[in-house]
């Protein structure tokens, strides 16, 4: 337990009234409420997980919350990131979150860190907080948060989500395991799809974020049994919780008996991101590209062009470029799509597109390997929305 020093902490009349339902809980009480006020929590990310969890922590009476986020609010965030309202689209998430949290609880002190957490700043930022909450959406930052917590001796309240599945635990707390005890090696880039690629039920991060907030409060109060040494797994589709028993790995490279990682490293490099990016660039260099504006000119001039959309049927149903035909990438990867493309092209010029150009590039490589030449629409249907027809929604 953290046992924050409450000797100098006082609660005002307004605070006593506000927290009355806590004060009558024997497990919290006046002393517990003072502990919450004396405590400081850093939340990395104010997205799907950070949104609900910081709102509850603010309401619960945590004294100081640090927010790390450099992103701006996008329309596609609003389905789950309930801290951000519609009026904040296009504005910094950290401003939107600060506004909302201050509205929930004016007694809260908010530290704003409008930066990307990096190996250069992580220790300085994390040092000043009692515990860290991982609400990030990428593997390099998860390893960075983990290592910073181990090096500084701070608990790391972990949560992650995808589609209908959520996971949560408390890392590096009272001799418990850390993230690297579970995953010593990062996943190869591109193998684990993000929520932007695979989707996520909007309510899911609410459930997982609120579990993280609960664990943070319990650690601060020193009550109950935390998720230390247990990986909680939540399956929203079948409404099932189960858990895995974890232990610290004595061979863990960062928290093991003979650690080999004793300072922060380059986490992008560790996760293979620059290498993957270079390979992508190399593959792209051999592909022919066309801009949305150029494609529009070709179509308007009545040129003999076949445009094929390789996104999935739901994306096609929601928004499409007029006159295109759907052949989803998985169909091309599995084979039958290749013959469909071949019969559609039938001597015409071929342009392929997806959402932003990645999947269509992949499809073109497959098609090239079987002798079908084509051109990639640069920036995909999003570029079409930006350059040609803003009435096409960016889904």
């Amino acid at each position: 337990m953290l046992n924050p020093d409450t000797t100098t902490i006082e609660l005002s009349r307004d605070e006593l009234e506000r927290y009355s339902r806590h004060l009558i809980l024997p497990e919290v009480g006046l002393e517990g409420q003072k502990k919450l006020k004396a405590a400081s929590v850093l939340c990395v990310g104010t997205g799907g997980l950070g949104a609900p969890l910081t709102m509850y922590l603010a309401a619960a009476g945590i004294g100081r919350i640090g927010l790390v986020d450099f992103d701006v609010v996008d329309a596609s965030n609003l389905q789950r990131q309930i801290i951000h309202g519609t009026a904040w689209i296009g504005k910094p998430k950290i401003d939107s979150a600060t506004d909302r949290l201050q509205e929930i609880n004016p007694h809260l002190q908010i530290d704003r860190w409008p930066v990307r957490l990096s190996s250069e700043n992580a220790l300085d930022i994390c040092r000043d907080y009692d515990l860290i909450i991982d609400g990030t959406d990428n593997f390099p930052t998860r390893y960075l948060v983990n290592d910073a917590c181990v090096l500084l001796g701070k608990p790391n309240v972990y949560g992650s989500i995808f589609r209908f599945e959520g996971q949560s635990t408390v890392f590096h707390y009272e001799d418990g395991p850390c993230y690297r005890c579970l995953y010593p090696e990062p996943p190869p880039p591109g193998l684990v799809p993000s929520c932007a690629e695979g989707g996520v039920l909007g309510i899911l991060p609410g459930v997982i974020g609120v579990i993280q907030a609960t664990e943070a409060v319990k650690i601060i109060l020193g009550i109950g049994t935390t998720l230390k040494g247990r990986l909680m797994l939540y399956d929203a589709l079948n409404m099932k919780f189960r858990e895995l028993k974890l232990r610290r790995n004595p061979e863990c490279p960062v928290c093991g008996d003979h650690p080999t990682v004793t300072s922060l490293i380059d986490y992008e490099e560790f996760c293979g991101i620059p290498q993957a990016r270079a390979e992508e660039e190399k593959a792209k260099a051999t592909l022919q590209e066309i801009t949305a504006t150029e494609l529009k000119q070709l179509l308007d001039a009545g040129k003999d062009v076949v445009v094929i959309d390789v996104r999935n049927p739901d994306e096609f149903a929601a928004a499409r470029i007029p006159g295109t035909t759907l052949v989803p990438l998985p169909k091309i990867e599995q084979g039958p799509g290749i013959e469909k493309v071949r019969s559609l092209v039938n001597g015409s010029a071929l342009v392929l597109h997806c959402r932003s150009g990645m999947r269509s590039a992949k499809a073109l490589q497959i098609l090239q390997s079987v002798g079908i030449e084509g051109i990639n629409l640069k920036g995909g249907i999003h570029a079409w929305s930006d350059e040609v027809d803003p009435s096409v929604p960016k889904v």
């Binding site: 959406d137 992650s160 996943p187 190869p188 684990v192």
Partner: protein, 68 residues
């Protein structure tokens, strides 16, 4: 002769002497993404190669998710 074990609630059979690493390969699972619990306790990665599946073993295999 086969060993019958339980993987995520489903019965599976493997040849005697199959290691956990070989089991993952047969199930076509990418090892870097996984956490494995064997009979209610985590099986750390360094033990996958030296642990053989035994009749009645219960495995829970969880795949990492990274979204936030």
């Amino acid at each position: 002769m086969v060993e019958t074990v339980c993987v995520n609630g489903e019965e599976r059979t493997f040849a005697p002497g199959t290691t956990v690493s070989a089991m993952l390969a047969q199930l076509a699972l990418e090892p870097r993404l996984l956490v494995i619990e064997r009979n209610g306790d985590i099986l750390h990665r360094q033990d996958w190669q030296k642990t053989t599946v035994a009749p009645g073993d219960r495995f829970e295999i969880v795949t990492v998710v990274g979204g936030g």
